[in-house]
Symmetry: C2
Subunit: 198 residues, 2 copies
């Protein structure tokens, strides 16, 4: 994949719309050319095919997510507070780029075969969140977990799937209303304090 010039990169989000609502399969390369205004020959000059266009869009969105998450993690608050900021950040990025996120999740299979994507998710999310979980144990704001890797995946999955179900059904995704519901579960847990623990 050659370095993609900015004027072209700027037009690609139109392709994400197509991927999101018809799927990668039912989107012809000619359709992408028509929707973005970038001619087919030019697309092939820069990308090996549709999935590389998709991968390019993912990288971009994941970079946003990495930035937002990094900013949330570096704030001067308690780890618990920063964790809520991480959840908000993920929701904000998803609300911002609904088409790309839908396309991403709807084509995880394809994306999964592009190893950079897996790495990008790890770098953007898992690594910083695991570090945050550690710090939370140290500053006393978070409970220690036996397996921080799994905990990070649980968080990611909780946010991703709930946000996604809004996107998939074309309901508007409002981070402000969704975030408290998710955080209530992952921070306070579902078990009533009256119930005998573990």
């Amino acid at each position: 994949m050659r370095r993609v010039p900015a004027q072209i990169a700027a037009r690609l989000p139109a392709a994400a719309e197509l991927f999101a609502d018809r799927g990668l399969e039912d989107t012809k390369v000619e359709d992408i050319a028509a929707a973005t205004g970038v001619p087919k020959a030019t697309l092939y000059y820069y990308f090996a095919g549709k999935e590389e266009i998709l991968a390019f869009l993912f990288q971009d969105t994941l970079q946003h997510m990495a930035d937002e998450v990094a900013m949330a993690v570096q704030a001067p608050d308690s780890a618990a507070t920063r964790l809520t900021a991480v959840v908000d950040a993920q929701l904000r990025v998803m609300a911002d780029q609904p088409a790309v996120c839908q396309a991403l999740v709807g084509n995880l299979g394809r994306a999964g075969r592009i190893p950079e994507i897996a790495t990008a998710i790890t770098d953007a999310y898992y690594t910083p969140v695991q570090q945050l979980l550690d710090e939370g144990v140290r500053d006393g704001s978070l409970r220690p977990t036996e397996d921080p890797t799994t905990t990070a995946m649980v968080l990611f999955g909780a946010v991703t799937i709930s946000a996604l179900s809004y996107l998939a059904t074309d309901r508007p995704l409002s981070p402000e209303s969704l975030s408290p519901s998710i955080l209530a579960v992952v921070l306070e847990g579902l078990r009533s304090s009256a119930d005998q623990a573990i």
Copy 2:
């Protein structure tokens, strides 16, 4: 889609393997014929195309999940205990049918366009879990949540994504070891009791 005879249905899981490790795209209908031993013409006699074969496999696995979840929900224990059983049930089904689950998640986009799948997930999971959450509030074992719909999605997402990341990386998925880590988060929450709440 005609009623699929049992001898044919029994051979289809071989197709799930192909979908899971090459993706739907890179699996030719002839490959499916070769892998399952069901001739191409016969496949087309019963199914409109590959995605219908995928959909058929999903329905089957989701039916298992519905059964297992229903059983977990109907046990005579406290709602909190039954909720752990639901998580276990989902993990067990996923561990049992890794290829179908990988194919399902890797092709959610396609699947999403097949409305029966969305309905099947709702019936198999969301509806019973929401009911369970209600009962938990009544029997005092679970904390009330402001939005049970979101809570159900959080649970589903937490389990699905963590299980999936094992499947995707070809690590064996062992429900016994994963389940406690997930449950620790969703039942007890991440916030330390020392931290001032909400």
